[in-house]
């Protein structure tokens, strides 16, 4: 058992932890980062192997050793989910993610107010806990900018200081300057999608991605090999935390990374202060770090789980839970999908960055009139492979054949042989609303390899608002597929209630300690030297991938800690 002292301990060195490690280290704070997985390098990601990385999830948590269970409602027993789409190594999910890097819309930060102003309070489902953020887009803009430029995001502006620019996303919130790197090259699927969308009067554009389209900061640019989602980048062109912020953190001389270190407890004293954390080392040892500042930055499940597991007499319902909101308001995107397949051409969807290649934002957020539609909020709609990764195993798993074609046998073989390289999948990434009864708690039956209760997710996306939205979007996507000139158009089956990608919530941020767990900086209301930063703090989720917003929040928190908290520890709000 080892004990060491430091200024700051960060649990989880991914999208958030890497940024805080570098920024706080640069400010002279001594930082220890606990990472339960290994630290890999770009050389580890060559060659690409679909079985290992996509199918067997080599860069993601092992769902049997580190289970997360799910049940659709409280009436049934939960079972481990067999795919966990977050990271399990230094750099976290940014090592294997699809790199979509969005700024949320202005109205995404005030979805509740926007809805009430435009459609009346009755438009919000009665059981939804839809809430505004305690942060406005304008507050976060400088940090979005910092993330885009420091990490390296490729894209084209569609709204420069209020001036709309064709070819970019004309629905985006105003940005102060252009992206640091030009948009990635279009592939065939992007060309087809853009043509079809334009015919219908929509506004297609190349999705902004954290993949460098040109050499940048001494890194080589993308080779369009197509192995992005689920894979590490073999040339380091993906702007993961591994190749951006971790080297910066190392260079400060103030950062120490402990790999194979699984945090199991946040320690607090009788005064109600966090004193550090305890963790299991790779050799099974039980260790403690004493720190002035504790920052939790793992994927969302472990935030809620750690806070619940760390309960004391003083905090009997878990740390930072005086509001009773810990573990509530969990959200996830689901993907509604329509396939567009061609008899007269190849699409070769496996070429180029694999995830959500080209986008329309016309049906996202409140970018369209929801009057009379029976639902609120929308989705980002994009073109890509069936499962964000385009190899034949993933496609065989995710590309449902059209109605009438079986999933096996000679007819399936012929279908798959013909269309594997001749299709694109149109995806709607839906902004599912927050509901208080969508929760994370401790599973009473399932434990992980350390003997700790597994996080248990209780969630079912199939609410009336969400179902109505999916049906609306399916019809829009079918329209796009036909406008794209596809020979065959059909819908993919919808998931049976389970959460899809980008799980968010559980430690909601807000302006009121009575109704939220953390403030806008991720600082817990109850314990000022304990922060929780990441998508677990999102009050609503938007139809966009969360990573760039997570990173912008990390920069904003780092800025507040360095400029204010460091010299005068205490509540920042």
């Amino acid at each position: 058992m080892a004990t060491e002292k430091t200024d700051v301990v960060i649990v989880g060195v991914g999208a958030v932890g890497g940024i805080l490690a570098a920024e706080l280290g640069k400010a002279g704070m001594k930082v220890v980062g606990l990472e339960r997985g290994p630290r890999l390098t770009t050389a580890d990601f060559n060659p690409h192997d679909e079985l290992r990385y996509f199918q067997r999830q080599d860069l993601r948590p092992n769902w049997k050793r580190q289970p997360v269970t799910w049940r659709p409602n409280t009436g049934v027993r939960a079972h481990p989910m067999n795919v966990l789409n977050y990271g399990n190594q230094a750099g976290g999910g940014t090592v294997h993610y699809g790199t979509l890097s969005w700024r949320m819309h202005e109205d995404d930060f005030r979805a509740r107010s926007q809805t009430i102003e435009k459609y009346g309070a009755s438009a919000i489902p009665q059981d939804s806990s839809l809430a505004d953020w305690p942060v406005a887009y304008a507050d976060l803009e400088p940090f979005y900018d910092q993330a885009e430029y420091e990490l390296g995001v490729s894209g084209k502006a569609g709204n420069l200081q209020g001036k709309k620019i064709d070819g970019g996303n004309v629905f985006e919130a105003p940005r102060k300057r252009e992206y640091p790197l030009p948009a990635l090259l279009m592939d065939q699927s992007g060309v087809l999608f853009a043509e079809g969308a334009r015919k219908l009067g929509y506004h297609p554009f190349s999705s902004p991605r954290a993949i460098i389209s040109q050499p940048y900061h001494d890194r080589a640019s993308c080779t369009y090999c197509g192995f992005c989602q689920s894979f590490g980048c073999h040339v380091g062109a993906k702007s993961s935390i591994l190749v951006t912020k971790l080297p910066e953190a190392d260079a400060t001389g103030n950062f120490k990374l402990l790999t194979g270190a699984t945090c199991y407890h946040v320690n607090t004293d009788n005064s109600g202060r966090a004193t550090g954390v305890s963790y299991y080392g790779p050799d099974g040892s039980d260790n403690t770090i004493e720190a002035e500042l504790v920052i939790l930055a793992p994927f969302i499940y472990d935030n809620t789980r750690l806070l619940l597991l760390s309960k004391t007499d003083k905090f009997p319902n878990g740390l930072a839970n005086s509001s009773g909101q810990l573990g509530k308001h969990v959200m996830a995107h689901i993907m509604a999908k329509v396939f567009a397949a061609y008899d007269d051409r190849y699409v070769n969807i496996y070429m180029g960055p694999s995830a959500q290649k080209h986008t329309i934002d016309d049906f996202n957020a409140d970018n369209f009139d929801h009057g009379g539609l029976g639902f609120i909020r929308g989705a980002q709609i994009s073109i890509g492979p069936a499962d964000l990764e385009a190899g034949p195993i993933g496609t065989a798993m995710s590309m449902d054949p059209p109605p009438g074609t079986p999933k096996w046998g000679a007819a399936y073989r012929d279908f798959f042989a013909k269309y594997f390289a001749r299709y694109g999948a149109i995806n709607a990434q839906t902004e599912n609303l927050a509901y208080a009864d969508q929760t994370i708690d401790l599973d009473p039956d399932v434990r992980d390899q350390w003997g700790m209760p597994a996080p248990r997710v209780t969630y079912d996306w199939r609410r009336p608002n969400e179902r109505a939205r999916v049906e609306f979007l399916m019809q829009k996507m079918e329209g796009i597929a036909h406008a794209m000139g596809a020979t065959k158009v059909w819908r993919a089956a919808l998931s049976p209630g389970a959460p899809g990608a980008h799980h968010e919530g559980g430690t909601r941020m807000g302006n009121d300690p009575k109704t939220s767990v953390v403030n806008r900086y991720g600082q817990t209301w109850d314990i000022p030297n304990l922060f929780v930063i990441g998508s677990s703090t999102f009050p609503s989720m938007s139809g966009f991938n969360p990573t760039l917003t997570i990173q912008a929040l990390a920069y904003m928190s780092a800025d507040a800690i360095v400029k204010r908290y460091k010299n005068r520890p205490g509540p920042l709000v």
């Binding site: 060659p47 690409h48 192997d49 679909e50 079985l51 199918q55 067997r56 049997k64 090259l185 279009m186 592939d187 065939q188 060309v191 080779t223 369009y224 090999c225 197509g226 192995f227 073999h234 051409r345 190849y346 070769n348 496996y350 070429m351 180029g352 190899g391 034949p392 195993i393 065989a396 798993m397 999933k407 096996w408 046998g409 000679a410 399936y412 073989r413 012929d414 798959f416 042989a417 594997f420 390289a421």
Partner: protein, 228 residues
Amino acid sequence: MTKHDASRRAFLVRAAVGAGAAAGAGLVPDAIAQNHEHMEGGAATSGAQHPSGSEHGAFFNHADAATIAAFTERLMPSAPDKPGARDADVLNYIDLALAGAYAELQDFYRRGLAQLEAYCRGTYKEPFVRLNPEQQDEVIASLENGKATGFSYPTAREFFSTLRTHTMEGMFADPLYGGNRDFVGWRLVGFPGAQAVFTPTDLQNTQAFTREPMVGLQTIAKGPAGRG
């Protein structure tokens, strides 16, 4: 190759060819007529061209290997110019996986196979490998829709679903893992493997991508990447 290996190999070649080969041995004579495509595939590819077997035995016993070979061949049947599970050596892939990465599924397979045999014997009075292809397809469909009786763990649906998944892995995973022999799975669908670079011209290509070579983990395939 030892004598055991040789006889095992001969057995497995017959088993992998499935009902077609069994028909040749006079067991179910109707099978050939009932599945012309299947017979052609078997006739074209049995023997030296697909010497499945010498590396088998990591997990399956002979009877189970024969069942898995026959089952996966129905999921992805072989036909002329359309390689299937037998051509890709899906059996070898699953056998090696169950002795390694998927060792925790050994019991799942043992019980699943036992339940499958019991169901076939109860319904058709014959084991799965002795059924003709149409009957085998009926059995597989009854697993897929959950109507097959007598399954508890794994359930019929789970067993079907896992076999389908593992068949696809054996068809399309890198040959390093024991299936996708000579990249036949990638050739079937037109996947060029892990290419290091696609050029702007490649990205705009509306035709099949056929530039050589296909790139695997340890090997580079001979011949064009497009469909054979």
